[in-house]
Homo-oligomer: 472 residues x 4
Amino acid sequence: MRQGFLERLREAIADRGRDLLAGRRTLDLRSPAHLCAELLGEGHGEASGVALAREIVRAYHGMDAPERLAFFEMIERDFGPDPGVIRAASARYLETHSVEDYLALSRAIEPRRQELFRRLNMAPRGTRALVGMRADLLGFLRSHPDLRTVDADLHHLLASWFNRGFLQLRRIDWNSPVALLEKLIVNDSVHEVRGFQDLRRRLARDRRCFALFHPVMPDEPLFFVEVALVCGTPRSVGGLLDPAAPLLDPETAETAVFFSNCSLQPGLAGISFGSFLVKQVIEELRMEFPGLGRFTTLSPLPRLALLLRSALRGETGGLEPDLLEALLAEYSDPLGPAPGQALLDLLERDPVQNCEALTRPLLALGMAYLLGRGPRGLLDPEAAFHASNGACLEGLHAFADLSGRGLAGSLGLMASYLYVPEQLEQNHETFVETGELPVSRSLSRLRREVQSAAKTVRRRQRRNRTREMPAG
Amino acid sequence: MRQGFLERLREAIADRGRDLLAGRRTLDLRSPAHLCAELLGEGHGEASGVALAREIVRAYHGMDAPERLAFFEMIERDFGPDPGVIRAASARYLETHSVEDYLALSRAIEPRRQELFRRLNMAPRGTRALVGMRADLLGFLRSHPDLRTVDADLHHLLASWFNRGFLQLRRIDWNSPVALLEKLIVNDSVHEVRGFQDLRRRLARDRRCFALFHPVMPDEPLFFVEVALVCGTPRSVGGLLDPAAPLLDPETAETAVFFSNCSLQPGLAGISFGSFLVKQVIEELRMEFPGLGRFTTLSPLPRLALLLRSALRGETGGLEPDLLEALLAEYSDPLGPAPGQALLDLLERDPVQNCEALTRPLLALGMAYLLGRGPRGLLDPEAAFHASNGACLEGLHAFADLSGRGLAGSLGLMASYLYVPEQLEQNHETFVETGELPVSRSLSRLRREVQSAAKTVRRRQRRNRTREMPAG
Amino acid sequence: MRQGFLERLREAIADRGRDLLAGRRTLDLRSPAHLCAELLGEGHGEASGVALAREIVRAYHGMDAPERLAFFEMIERDFGPDPGVIRAASARYLETHSVEDYLALSRAIEPRRQELFRRLNMAPRGTRALVGMRADLLGFLRSHPDLRTVDADLHHLLASWFNRGFLQLRRIDWNSPVALLEKLIVNDSVHEVRGFQDLRRRLARDRRCFALFHPVMPDEPLFFVEVALVCGTPRSVGGLLDPAAPLLDPETAETAVFFSNCSLQPGLAGISFGSFLVKQVIEELRMEFPGLGRFTTLSPLPRLALLLRSALRGETGGLEPDLLEALLAEYSDPLGPAPGQALLDLLERDPVQNCEALTRPLLALGMAYLLGRGPRGLLDPEAAFHASNGACLEGLHAFADLSGRGLAGSLGLMASYLYVPEQLEQNHETFVETGELPVSRSLSRLRREVQSAAKTVRRRQRRNRTREMPAG
Amino acid sequence: MRQGFLERLREAIADRGRDLLAGRRTLDLRSPAHLCAELLGEGHGEASGVALAREIVRAYHGMDAPERLAFFEMIERDFGPDPGVIRAASARYLETHSVEDYLALSRAIEPRRQELFRRLNMAPRGTRALVGMRADLLGFLRSHPDLRTVDADLHHLLASWFNRGFLQLRRIDWNSPVALLEKLIVNDSVHEVRGFQDLRRRLARDRRCFALFHPVMPDEPLFFVEVALVCGTPRSVGGLLDPAAPLLDPETAETAVFFSNCSLQPGLAGISFGSFLVKQVIEELRMEFPGLGRFTTLSPLPRLALLLRSALRGETGGLEPDLLEALLAEYSDPLGPAPGQALLDLLERDPVQNCEALTRPLLALGMAYLLGRGPRGLLDPEAAFHASNGACLEGLHAFADLSGRGLAGSLGLMASYLYVPEQLEQNHETFVETGELPVSRSLSRLRREVQSAAKTVRRRQRRNRTREMPAG
């Protein structure tokens, strides 16, 4: 209620300020650059500051993509640090090493746009607007790498404001506002929600959904996770999502299965909440249900199909084509001469019919993908997320997600990552050191097979290269 | 409620983490320096991070003043930026001016303690703890100026977190929690509150009290103001504070008098909220009572007695002794040969009895003090605050606060600053440019007298200096 | 939150009490009659009272329909007043007329089951359970008129507890809990809601939905109304319900159209809230949108099709077959020799195609029905509701609701009832006196036609009866 | 917030209604009798009903005591049942015994003022007003016994509305609104609260305070209890109330001592909440602190001094003068020839000095008083309350409350009543059957002494009476 009151008050102040602005002959309300300069200028009372901030936010919201790009380029050009000042401060500091000159250099380094963003935050719903701006900005970065400095400033600010110490965990259930639930429906990137009836089952008494919020954006979840409380260990997600799945008394549940997690604010990319949330939720569940003994996941392998296809086209950088070939060679009999393409074809034609023939090659393929590493670490983002949280891979299930999305992205495979609260710390440290996905004993045989195939392939590659050498 | 839930959850996580910590042979729980290093180190899962943060906060709360000083010195010494890295980065940037090298220099400049503080914020009630730390630190600065760098980092962080866009305005009334009202009683630095009966009158239907809060510290007001809704313009504060003062129907009020404002968080010194609050409150009052036509204050002159005494001892830097002498000379008849001291004596002996004789010299003295400027601007902090908000001095009242505190600090004088919403902006800009306190027409004669006395004094001083020159 | 806390506490107390109950050798937990007697008996501590109440409620919830009937029969038989005591008390009062004997007679009259119901209310969610019990009981009344005394007691109690002074009006919008919105979807008896997308349009910024609640059943709406804010006067409901209808800025709306209202608690039948709600909503809308000048409705004629069919079968008691015949005779040309059945057939076949031919007969028919009165007042419940609120019929629209439900029940007709706040009182009083539906001037010609047809019919009937007399 | 919204809405409706009322020529706004008749009359729309109710409540609040008495007499006279109708209905029922005639008699019995009170409840803050009216009415009953019928109706209504199923238990602590705490301060009839500092200790972490509320009066506590969590069993209340008493970690507490309980709504006299509250609080404490093993009280003996004085004046009906004499005779040596008066004198002069001499006679006196029974049960209201809850007397402490109030009312004595959750039911039943205060073994010797003294006295009295007989 108060929130709403303050919003109204801010609007009233902004309105009053707008009248002031309108009375100033020198102000060009149609030029964002001019407004930004004014907002940063000295000599602004509170009211016109809030009004200026709102005008800029409004102007931004009215822009199309090219105008927004131009806006960021203006910010980059006009509100960066002053190279001359930095040069002078650097030079002085290199000379004196004094505290004063260090502080002066600090000040010189900080671009004016940081203060600009801080002042924009005063606009009604300003924080939300800045998060949205960064989402746009990230989209421009690839084609306009110069904007990285603007992004660095926005990231710095948002990382400070979205410090975990400020975030609030809230349970989402059937009594949550429909406007909030709608956001989950629209945003669940893991499993499609086909309307409220789907959602209802996901919020029943043997399910839990939690989301993280920032206190100034109480209706904008940052990240959510969905958990199923079950007996035994599910090997496929269909049963968990089925609106008609039988209800379990949660007091009798043995296992908590995290089956969906999703980041909802693209503008906060690079500021991690998921790990914090998963661990808070585990604590919360342990408090509510002392009988829960296992915490695990059913997770997609989101880039598997994509990387398989590029490997089949001979592209490197993801799954190694040679390793792929070697792995699939073992299953060439049932799959024929081009086993990779055959596998894709069979899956597309009738996954269930070809279940028996495809299970082993799919598991081998999945394991190779999960273990695979690129220049930035593990190839699979889910594996990277859970390993970094201290979990270990404990299950790999073929034909575990037969939805369109599950087949298209993960070839129907799902992975289980086990969270043993007492081992998270140690696992996390090992992962940071080695970069290798920890794998539990139950999967060690499959891993060994894949690793030995990889070794063979690498030996052969080395031999080939040695042979080619003399020719070179 | 949720807040409490999250607090409990954080504690549970911290407890769980503490068990982990206890199991680590290498961790020295009694060494804050070691714990800080660990908290910043890689390889910490969420749980032990929260637990480490809590341990450090707890250790800090258990320290006495010398230990806290040593703690900050350790932070200054061990977690500052690396001068070698800054040097290298500066040198490289001076050479290339490239974006990469600018970003690298930015990173090099940021001291590691900023990240340390950010991680401490994860502790249960971490924000509160950091605000408290800075309050302590400010106390050490005068004797330990090297800690200024630590303060710069804490200030930078807190200024970012306490951005006005995040603050919430709440009305305080007789239905507010007693724990909150108690804080107002203890902290009202302007007018002593002698218990709840005093407070009750201040929260009656013709009074308003508002406070600013940060969402993660919902029971810690940052700043509050108290307003009386009256008819006519009160010339003394006694009637407003009297528990037996008759109640007014606020719908019939013509004037809102801000008679107290107070900052409650010494740890947030240098981060200004007051201006924001005063203007929000004016808007709020205009919305609630469209009939209100005047917004003014009854404000103390808090350093007047102090500066008068130093001037009488001949010290410069505050009120100029010569100007003081010249002003009081006009009233030497009634006050005798040492009018300054006589004034103080008479005030102390019986203010009311000597009212007639003292009024004019007090007003002249007060005006000289309010107009007085030192190296950092106006001598009077209240005048500086209101002038910077865009208000102008419109009244000066002798014998307006006869409480012990009012006589001891302000010699019983009070000033009224007028807020004309439409003129705040313009006044503020003029004040920023000229540094002079704006004074309304009703006081122009008094100002002229004081200024002409000052001119005379300065002319004489110049003459004297010219005479002394040849001798020099 | 507190609510939840108290629920848990009541459950804990009930659990604790259940242990006590279980320890009592003499208690037959499987016999509701026995439990009820125990609950009414002296000698029960609080805990076992709450536990007994809960056991009875649980037992009831586990019963099927015949068992519930038997339960009420037991209540009727075993917990009624004692006729002997009433007799004695009556006799004594007839003799003495003393205050004591009046009070004694009062006590004798009150059946013990009233106290039984009051004690059942202590069960967790007891009020809800009693409301549910009465819903069941009402279903049994027709076949078991003896239960009327039980119903009189339950009605008496619930009417006291659901006194309007206790009810709370809440706005329902897109931020309301989905569990609540779901109840509206399921229960809107006027216009079918086909899922959340339909509902979303009904909760957009130019719509308003309000519901009444009792404080101990905060998630069980008792009654709701839906309002559309529009310009002009809509003559059909399709445009209001269309999910794709364009949004209006509500500040510019001229007319509020109540297009749905619904009672959600069958167990509270006979306790009227609707009038209270409609008038509170009008006040609320006038406060929020001072520009609103007209308050009207688009209401179904829910029993029209039903009564037309019975009239066609020659049944009296509803629409008079003779009047119907006379009215339709005027339109016999286009509709053929059996105009009533023809009208129904044409409507069923293709309402839009036959629009021109059907409009006049439909309007005449609708007016006759709306004016029609049976032994309990107006035939149409909506007309009775609005007339009793003080509204008057101001519009009758053919082909205004072409949904399946609208055609099947109201033959596509809709009525508009106008609420003029200043005239409600006077209209209400007139209606109470005369029992006639007030009709505005715009419809007076249609009314006159129908009334003159009715007069002709009645004259003819009298003549016929006179003729038959001599033979009789 | 909503509450406030609805209050405003009701006021708006009432205002609007008032305009309607003002426009009615026939309405005499100055005659409550006329307004009441109007409110009950047919033909009132909602708005004018609410307005009428508010006018009556306002008129009532403006009345002085004689006018209020006249108001109730008018209600008694004008809005009672119609004796003629009752007579007719009684007679008919005596004849037929039919269901219809029973229901008709029921309706005839119910006075019209019940409906009047139900309609008054629609006024803004109507429930509160009715509770206040009954408080006034109770004050008139002694001198105006005819008003008992009006009281019976108000009691009937309020008992129904304040059914325990509707009440809410809330914890009161230092974060509760000061307006609420103030009510506790003013109303604690057991131990004087000398301002907020006293209260602060009573709300510290080893104390608990709970209150019962009705949802429509969320800021009006109905009943509260205060509990101290301690180790060991305190024998005096001074230590519990001392603002400087050391804090205990409540997790280590063994015993919960109920040391104050108080009903705050005189208008709800005769509707018992205390038993419900005490037991709910015991459950709540057991949930929060599983380590608590004992639940006991420190209770005053509020009528002891009063009854001692009347006994010394020879009045019977309370403590029997003969028994008193017999008891005190045993201690005549130290107390002299008139031991009763001597005891009072010594207590008044210096309780602590005379502690040794007074302890035994005080204990004997206290026990006799606690066991004493009058026509309505136990003489001591606290003993009656706790025995009826199922507790038993387990301690009697002399010089346990040396406050002015404690000495004046209870002669410094305090009693402890033990609550053993498992025995409450059985104890309660025994008490209902026998009417005797249950006393634990530790006090059995004292009880035996007092009972044997009583027996001796009664034997002597019988003998005396026998002797007087022949003379008679």
